[in-house]
């Protein structure tokens, strides 16, 4: 019987410094069999091990269609594991366990208008889905991306913005919390930006990911614009350790976010009478 907690060894093939405290690490599994058989949906996450430091959950930030280049995780320097991850170099060995979580419901997004709302590092899980849509552009209608950050230095994946803007029927709105010199795009927190651009909610679905405070203020705006709670998807950020719905940390009510989530419709979260 195989050990469900065993990490698979992976080698770091590329490290990209996105912001002063966020790095995107690209990994390749050392074991060829696992490299080929490892498959995932956008929005799923892996348990990333820095050995002798610990394990932490990170969403896979590149699209499954580009899996051959390796799987990417964007890591913000916060605690013990992430600080250790930031000290790793190309060629170092880490552990990957997963993929876990339900990921985004791809069928419900097909031939719909998509509105992506991201805050700070929240763009990481959405990037996986955005690039998936770019690689299957015909399956989806219009795409609108609203991406905010505290300062322009905190915007992640800057090199992908030109590609997204040039894509068919795709609009990208960047915003920072307050005005900076030589900043040409919008200024203001994401909820207020949404109110100004008022993206269409007809035959549209929105995917939101960001810090809890942003989610708390964005939801009412989306409802006001006309999105119904079933069409608002969000991926929750809870404390996770096992990823298998066993260790008792990530639950909201009877739901284990790491197993039944982390992607939920806002309707399902509201129906939960438990703390959210």
């Amino acid at each position: 019987m195989e050990d469900i907690y065993l990490s698979n060894l992976a080698e770091i093939v590329d490290i990209k410094k996105e912001t002063p405290d966020v790095k995107t690490v690209r990994l390749k599994f050392k074991d060829g069999k696992i490299r080929d058989s490892f498959d995932y949906k956008p929005g799923q996450f892996v348990e990333f091990s820095v050995f002798n430091e610990g394990e932490a959950p990170f969403c896979i930030s590149n699209s499954p269609t580009r899996k051959s280049e390796g799987i990417e995780c964007s890591i913000k320097k916060m605690g013990k594991v992430t600080q250790a991850a930031h000290e790793l170099d190309i060629g170092d060995t880490v552990g990957i366990r997963g993929p876990y979580g339900n990921g985004f419901p791809m069928e419900e997004l097909k031939n719909k208008n998509l509105l992506f709302v991201a805050g700070g590092i929240g763009l990481a899980p959405l990037r996986s889905l955005i690039n998936y849509c770019m690689d299957n552009r015909a399956d989806f209608k219009s795409i609108t991306i609203v991406n905010g950050a505290r300062t322009s230095k905190d915007l992640v994946y800057k090199d992908e913005y030109p590609k997204w803007e040039k894509a068919k029927d795709t609009k990208l709105h960047l915003t920072v919390d307050c005005q900076e010199d030589n900043w040409t795009c919008m200024v203001g927190v994401v909820p207020r930006i949404l109110e100004t651009i008022r993206p269409t909610c007809k035959d549209a679905v929105t995917i939101v990911c960001g810090p809890p405070v942003m989610i708390r203020y964005t939801m009412p705006v989306l409802l006001k614009i006309g999105f119904c709670a079933e069409d608002i998807f969000t991926t929750l950020e809870m404390k996770m350790k096992c990823g298998l719905g066993k260790c008792g940390r990530c639950n909201i009510g009877p739901l284990y976010i790491c197993k039944e989530g982390p992607v939920f419709t806002y309707a399902r979260l509201e129906a939960l009478k438990y703390e959210f």
């Binding site: 610990g54 605690g79 013990k80 600080q83």
Partner: protein, 247 residues
């Protein structure tokens, strides 16, 4: 006696002198007692006072910072409040101490009897004794949570960068935890006995703290909680502290 206590507490609320009062109430089994948080005058009706009221309520003070707190305190609780005041954890005007006389059995003649018995043993016997005791420790940290002196926001045992103690259920982690907890109470523990009472696996924790209490008395003539003005033991020193153990 109990009516007098209840009226005193009600009067505190009436005069808006306190936000919450810590006391005792009858437990579910109808015999023993358990701690009671009193927020208004009706709650005061549930107050009891008898020999089952063994808890040192000062352990709840660490969560009530910023509030004006009344506390029903036995003799040893008063000493632990003195140490908290001495360590600037509370300002005396925010605390309203209602002293009640001791109902607990009187302390044995020689308080350090069990410590002396252990000291008399050989080193290997002592090591075997403590190894057997600490091997039963399940690291539930009840000894820390029940102690009024353990008020650190993030205990050294909970830190992960670095992780000071092994989280594993090994002797190494258990011994390190218990020794460090005792060292952190040097000159601060007033031997209220709550840690030993709370320990589910019966480790004689008081024999650890009392050993340090005895040494501190012999080495520096220092007694925890004897007066509020006294400076904490390890944050001060004396020119002629003993130096014989240093080569």
């Amino acid at each position: 006696m109990i009516e007098e206590l209840r009226n005193k507490v009600k009067e505190l609320f009436a005069s808006k002198r306190v936000d919450v009062v810590l006391g005792y109430q009858r437990a579910v089994d109808g015999v023993s007692a358990k701690p009671l948080f009193i927020y208004n005058q009706e709650d005061a009706e549930r107050l009891v006072w008898d020999s089952y009221c063994v808890y040192n309520l000062a352990c709840y003070l660490k969560e009530l910072a910023g509030k004006k707190v009344g506390i029903i305190a036995k003799a040893c609780d008063v000493k632990s409040i003195a140490v908290l005041l001495q360590e600037n954890q509370w300002k005396s005007q925010d605390l309203f101490v209602i002293e009640v006389e001791e109902v607990k059995p009187s302390a044995p003649a020689d308080k350090y009897e069990s410590v002396r018995k252990l000291e008399a043993k050989s080193a290997s016997e002592r090591l075997k004794f403590w190894e057997e005791e600490f091997s039963r420790c399940i690291r539930c940290y009840a000894c820390r949570q029940v102690c009024p002196m353990c008020y650190c926001p993030r205990c050294v045992a909970d830190q992960s960068m670095p992780a000071w103690f092994s989280r594993a259920n090994s002797l190494k982690g258990n011994l390190s935890w218990n020794v460090t907890r005792a060292m952190h109470l040097a000159g601060r523990c007033i031997d209220c006995g709550e840690c030993e009472r709370a320990c589910p696996v019966g480790i004689p924790l008081r024999d650890l703290n009392k050993k340090i209490e005895k040494d501190v008395k012999e080495l520096f003539n220092y007694e925890a909680g004897s007066s509020v003005e006294q400076k904490p033991l390890l944050s001060c020193f004396d020119k002629n502290d003993p130096t014989d153990f240093i080569k």
